[in-house]
């Protein structure tokens, strides 16, 4: 379909502008309904006004500060709109240019008014919306849609069947019981790892399955390009994050919105990694902006609010097969230091890839494992199922103490920044512990490790070019895969990592076959070729990507002869993140 056809334009307009159902007939939320059910237009308005009030107070301290903030916003917006050259440019470029020209001559009062207008427009654009009817619709529709995509020939016979199909694909593990008790006692902030744009969708499914409430989260603009997805995103509490906007004011609005929602008790979600992992490695250095806003939100609730608790849930999302692996891995290698934050036209935006992906997963149990780690309070203390924060020796501690000094509870941005940094470090540790390794990670590691062993002195980029040059005899591959699995199982017993359900007791031959089947049934590039008596490493880039998840343990699981090779691999976490 040509991009500018009337239908396409109409579809795009539908995506951009939120489609909302009339609210007449909606019953008021009951006491057992999740917090999001009370996010009605009036509440939305209150949140927007609070966000605007706070940003104005923080930014508009004096005339110089006002001018600086507006100048920064104008500059960034003008540059962005000039690059985009689309309908938004036509609509908005003129206004920004006019503002930029007038700034120097405006009085303080005029600047305040301009700040108010700009902030209000941004907050209005960002703020989400929630319609319980759409939520109910999504709960019923999602499994059916996914099942339909997976097996287009057969109409799903009923919700139960569709749900069963989805259930087989997705495994949910970890502190589910605890979370089921905690979500009524405090505000949960889910902070998962990020490898794919499917993450928010599978996570939504996981929450649903566990009887956990819907969450508020910042959905990137790419999730709004598809009209169907966009409709659901707009009505399920997601707030819209346009990552092309670099204006400082916009980032302040985003952080403040997230904080205000957490303060008001709405369960939330965001990805502290910021963007999908290009290398496939587990996130180590987290972005602290939104995390800090939530840590401050906890302090505010103690000092000024209801004293409610905010609990962070480290979560790992683990895939046997990653939808966008090829684009992500290419970007990882192309980079040499710079990240393209947005990958246009990757697999997520191609329907054909979705279909191929889900078809590949038919019959593949536990293709995706979501694992919820133990919740932490804002100060890094683990929280038990009763909602008590626990000191390292296990005795309960009062979290409100952390915002007290000499008896007085107080707000302190510097203190909370320090708490946030410490919390970020704890989350990164939790991600490692709660990682669930899959067949594809193991098989890729053995093959890539062999490749590295046979190419001493080469760097990563040289090795990536060696397509089809290194092979392993099948018996050796099976032996090493078996040994690797056994060593990882040992680490699992010590609580240091987890193995996917399909891995723990499987025969090495099955592990290898599973990996090859999964890769070669979906990816355009051939990761590895089964030649019968041997297996050949075809695409080192894909292999490197899949085995990058194992790097934190590479040295400890290597046989003695491969220790040095494993050390080189482990160094990749630092050298090529």
């Amino acid at each position: 379909m040509p991009l500018r056809s009337p239908l396409n334009l109409a579809l795009r307009a539908l995506s951009e502008r939120p489609l909302r159902l009339p609210r007449a007939g909606l019953r008021p939320p009951g006491p057992d309904d999740p917090p999001l059910f009370r996010f009605d237009p009036a509440e939305r308005r209150r949140v927007i006004e609070e966000v605007v009030r706070r940003v104005e107070a923080e930014v508009g301290t004096d005339r110089a500060a006002l001018e600086l903030a507006l100048n920064d916003a104008a500059r960034h917006e003008i540059r962005r709109l000039l690059e985009q050259k689309d309908e938004e440019t036509a609509q908005r470029l003129g206004q920004w240019k006019r503002l930029a020209r007038r700034l120097g001559r405006m009085s303080e009062q005029e600047l305040r008014e301009a700040l108010h207008e700009v902030t209000y427009a941004m907050a209005e654009d960002v703020a989400g919306y929630f319609d319980p009817r759409v939520y109910e619709l999504a709960r019923h529709l999602a499994p059916r849609l996914i099942a339909a995509v997976m097996e287009p020939g057969s109409l799903p016979r009923g919700l139960a069947d569709a749900q069963a199909a989805l259930d087989a694909l997705l495994e949910v593990e970890g502190e589910v019981r605890s979370l089921q008790a905690l979500h009524r006692r405090g505000t949960l902030v889910f902070v998962p790892t990020h490898s794919s744009n499917l993450d928010s969708i599978v996570l939504g499914q996981a929450l649903e399955r566990c009887g956990l409430p819907p969450v508020v989260y910042g959905a990137g603009k790419n999730l709004f390009t598809n009209p169907l997805l966009s409709f659901f995103m707009h009505n399920l509490g997601a707030y819209r994050v346009d990552r092309r906007i670099r204006a400082r004011l916009y980032k302040d609005v985003l952080k403040t919105y997230a904080a205000v929602m957490v303060e008001r008790g709405y369960h939330s979600l965001f990805f502290p990694g910021g963007t999908r992992s290009r290398s496939g490695m587990i996130e180590r250095r987290l972005k602290l902006g939104l995390l800090g806003a939530c840590v401050q939100a906890q302090a505010r609730r103690v000092v000024e609010g209801d004293g409610g608790r905010v609990w962070f849930v480290p979560t790992t999302i683990n895939y046997a097969l990653v939808l966008e692996a090829e684009s992500l891995a290419e970007d990882w290698l192309a980079r040499a230091g710079e990240s393209r934050f947005i990958l246009p036209h990757d697999e997520f935006s191609r329907l054909e890839r979705w279909v191929a992906f889900f078809r590949r997963l038919v019959g593949l149990r536990s293709a995706c494992v979501i694992r919820f780690g133990q919740p932490l309070d804002a100060y890094g203390n683990p929280v038990d199922a009763e909602g008590r924060s626990l000191a390292p020796d296990g005795h309960p501690v009062e979290p409100t103490d952390y915002v007290r000094f000499r008896g007085r509870a107080m707000l302190s941005p510097r203190r909370d920044r320090a708490y946030t940094r410490a919390l970020g470090a704890r989350l990164a540790e939790a991600y490692r512990r709660e990682t669930v390794l899959m067949a594809t990670n193991l098989v890729a590691h053995v093959l890539f490790r062999r490749l590295v062993a046979e190419t001493p002195g080469l760097d990563l980029f040289a090795r990536i070019r060696l397509r089809g040059e290194v092979a392993m005899a099948r018996e050796e591959l099976l032996a090493e895969v078996g040994e690797l699995r056994d060593r990882l199982a040992g680490l699992e017993r010590d609580g240091e990592v987890h193995l996917g359900p399909a891995l723990r007791d499987a025969e090495p031959a099955d592990i290898v076959d599973r990996a090859l089947r999964v890769w070669n049934g979906y990816h355009r590039r051939v990761a590895a070729h089964d030649l019968g008596g041997s297996v050949r490493a075809e695409d080192p880039m894909l292999l490197a990507y899949y085995q990058n998840r194992l790097l934190p343990w590479a040295e400890r699981v290597a046989p003695p002869t491969l220790r040095e090779v494993a050390r080189q691999l482990a160094a990749m976490e630092e050298e090529h993140p």
Partner: protein
């Protein structure tokens, strides 16, 4: 409206702990001195306590025990500490093979999160006597800064602050190690020029190692790094320097350590820091030479001196 006096607990009855307790009491704080050995209060108003549980009432805890005892102390404090406790330690040690800082240990083993490290060319004598002195406090938390200023600052003690707690801890430990070299070099009869070259190299090496441990390089230019090393070189009489001299005289380590009296962190660190440098592929010739000297071998040191004098 007057605030109630700051409640402080000093843990450790050695000279430094006593000096801290005395200084804080003179500034008007309510001070409890916890120690495992019986003693007289350093100032009349200082309360003495033998029960660790007695420290929980404090707002600020100052830990002044030698590093070998810190882990045991942390275990003892674990059931007692809660979120409002502020901890500041003055130790010069680094723990284990991975050279973990004491602040990190405290944060991991207890519920306390607001932790700081006090370091610099501050001696127990100067603190006790109320003589002019300077120290640096490394902490990310404004309340820890405020509490330490209330407790110890405003008088003859000048307190600088930095948010790089890790840097202060690492610099303080590595300079303690380098002070061994100072004593050794002085006894080896090096000229001022050569000694300065040595000090300069020592600082660079400490900074290099420190960065690998997570410190910010500029912390080494401050009181915890350069300031402290200069104090050692200018003759503040610290035990590391005396031990260094004794080693240069060919005396065995045990005898040297005994004559210096008390706990000497630098000696314990030498071998571990050298091993760390080797594992990470970092250039650390001075540390390597010190580790050898501490182990009774002089060859590395001789080579170093020769290189400096060439």
């Amino acid at each position: 409206m007057t605030e109630p006096p700051l409640r402080i607990a000093v843990l450790g009855g050695g000279p430094f702990g006593r000096a801290l307790a005395a200084a804080a009491a003179r500034r008007g704080a309510e001070v409890l001195l916890w120690s495992r050995r019986a003693q007289q209060p350093p100032e009349p108003s200082v309360r003495l306590g033998g029960e660790l549980s007695g420290v929980t009432g404090a707002d600020l805890l100052l830990l002044a025990v030698p590093s070998p005892y810190v882990e045991a102390l942390a275990e003892g404090l674990a059931p007692l500490l809660v979120g409002r406790h502020l901890l500041v330690h003055v130790s010069r040690g680094l723990l284990g093979e991975r050279l973990r800082t004491i602040g990190d240990l405290l944060v991991r083993r207890t519920a306390a999160r607001r932790v700081g490290a006090l370091a610099g060319p501050l001696s127990a004598e100067a603190l006790s006597a109320g003589a002019p002195a300077a120290a640096v406090l490394g902490t990310a938390f404004p309340e820890v800064e405020e509490a330490v200023r209330l407790a110890l600052g405003g008088g003859p003690l000048r307190i600088e602050t930095t948010s790089d707690r890790c840097g202060v801890e690492v610099a303080s430990a590595l300079v303690g190690l380098m002070a061994l070299a100072v004593g050794y070099a002085q006894r080896s009869g090096l000229s001022p020029a050569t000694l300065s070259a040595l000090l300069s190299r020592a600082l660079q090496e400490a900074r290099r190692l420190g960065e690998a441990l997570g410190a910010q390089p500029q912390t080494f230019e401050g009181l915890a790094g350069v300031g402290d090393l200069l104090a050692a070189a200018l003759g503040d009489g610290r035990p590391e320097v005396r031990i260094g001299r004794a080693l240069a005289e060919g005396r065995p380590l045990r005898e040297a350590a005994r004559s210096a009296g008390g706990h000497v962190e630098g000696v314990r660190l030498a071998s571990r820091v050298a091993a760390f440098a080797r594992r990470r592929g970092l250039q650390a010739p001075l540390t390597e030479a010190l580790a050898q000297a501490v182990e009774g071998r002089q060859s590395g040191w001789q080579a170093l001196i020769a290189a400096l004098q060439a």
